[in-house]
Amino acid sequence: MTFQAFGARGSGSDTPLSFTYVDKPGLGKIALLNALLMVLTLTVYRFWAKTNVRRHIWGCVHINGEPLEYTGRGIELFLGFLIVFAVFFLPVSVVLTVLQLSLGPEHPLLIGANLVLVLVIFLLWGMALYRARRYQLSRTLWRGIRASLVGSSMTYSLLYFGAMLLRSMTLGWSTPAMNLNLQERMTGDMRIGSMPFRFKGRAGPLYGPYAICWVVTLLAFIAVALLAGFGVYGLFGDELKAIGGSVTTDPSNPVPDAHRIGLVIGFAIVGAFVLFAIVSSITWAFYVARELSIFASYTTLDNARFRLETTAGSLIWLVLGNLLLIVFTLGIATPFAQQRLVRYLVSRLSADGIVDVNAILQSREAVGRTGEGLADAFDVSWI
């Protein structure tokens, strides 16, 4: 009897971690079939479609030579959706319809009810994110060992809501600290089998990149606004003056075309907005790249510390490429966009240090029967 180890790293108590994305054929078939069935079922198939894509992509992510395994089922997502619909959206729709019928569309009580609904949705947003993550982890296996998320979605939800409020009150300056808090809670609640992930670090290093991006965004806003203003003024300065004074002395050019000027100003505003959106997206890609990489470096599993090598340029190319991929295929290639994202993260992820694989025991966490109802309803899950 001979026992041959084929590339078997990771049997001992001092195993380094390696991450690779191993492509395998079949995603194209999944994408086409999903698109076809989505159309035929008026998108009800989306739960099964999502499951098929995840099963494929999970299976491409290899940790120390062994792939992840996705064990979720479409019916679980479907039931999760039905439950959320029955306990949340159906009653809310009925109440709003009855209020609108009985009071008319502009009654203060109806407006109040709508505001309350918006507030409730904001409050539940974090819960949707957390529960979606919990479902996905509970359906993720590595070497037959299940992952889990062990905390309370309510706590996370409140923290998330608080972070949103604080962000608007501090003009964004609370973002790095609050993102760190949220990440600490989410990562700290994650387990692979019995082994917890840990997250520890300060928000300080995030503030340098944040301050730079914040100031650049402000300057970009001012510059774009001035550009648009001067552009319009340069083209129509005289005519605008004529409107302002509402007197014209030149009989050959009596009435300035107010309608045409209004149109041009409209275009200038839209153009300025688009320009600003592009500039600020590029700017913030620098911050996001730094944040991702700093958060990874704050994360440990046993004695291994993670490292994620992100750059703003590669991140922009990733997002832009995915956008084009989805738009130009009318969404059919969405699974490939999701694959690009996962491949990007996995291929840039590494870990320093070692993990005691013998200490990773099977998870004893209870496994929920349904998943992601809220996340589907709010459309927050990215894969």
Partner: protein, 358 residues
Amino acid sequence: MRTDARFFDGEIARDHMAVAEITAQGLQIEGLDVAQRIWSLSGLTAVTPPQPGYPFRLSHESEPGARLVITQEAFARELVARAPHLAGGFNPRRAGRIAAIVAASALATAGVLYVLLSYAPQTLAFVLPDSWRDSLGNQVEATLANDGKLCATSAGNDTLRRLAARMTEGNPEIPSFEVKIYDLKILNAFALPGGRIVMTRKLIDAARTPDEVAGVLAHEIGHVYHRHSEAQLIRAMGIELLLRIASGGGDTVSSLAGLLAILQYSRDAEREADSFAQTALVHAAIDPMGFKRFFEELKKLEGSGGSGGGLFDAMGDMMSTHPVTDERIEAIKPLPEGVAARPALSDTDWQSLRKICD
């Protein structure tokens, strides 16, 4: 046949070297630190389908977390030959079963929804409180009239009031209603929720005698009497809700479907309104032949292609919301013997009605 394999026991993440062997009892697994076990072939599941060049991963129903990884392709082929269900791919029996389940549940759902949407709204329409009907009517009327001019209402115009009163005399079951003449770009008449009947200036212009206008009015009163528009709105809301369930919140499809559904009554509803009109006209001693002639004119218009152009034009026109069929024209009978026809309006009243929007 045997091969070296990698084994995970599902309890600890570390891997074990093992030897796998196909025996008469099943797949036997054994290693230095792996206790001997035999996995029955029928209980095996392929975690990843067998693909040349990729390791073959197996699990077994008896040990949910345990995984066996086989890299020797000849062994994997042999195993799949013994347990064909591992090959994955297209399974006609399974696909057939799923298709049958999906088709049956789709049919059942469609059946239940059809019955629900056909009968429930009509019942609900009669229990709707008057204030809700009124509020609904306000919203629909505002959308319909847009910025069209309101020429006259039966509340303020004596001619309209008398004509309406004559048609409803002696029938206390008819809910209160109001007739409104609007100057819109379309030729049509609508019964809206909350007992509002909207007729357009073009309709009055198109009518050659007051009897024709009276016939159309009687038909719309029929819709009010049967609460058709309330039922239709409830139905549209139901359809919108269903589409939202299906699509998870798609708005474009649902609102378009809703608009179409509101404006278009079913044939049954049209028949009910026609039959009401026949009775009401006879009761008021107005000759139903005017109504019949109006329908025949509309039918001719339809034959010649109508107004043409644009989805909204087509929907806004009388033909699309009140499709006139030969059957409907046939159903309109003259006054019974012994009932002497009285004109719907006097000449003076008719002239004033024709100038109502000037």
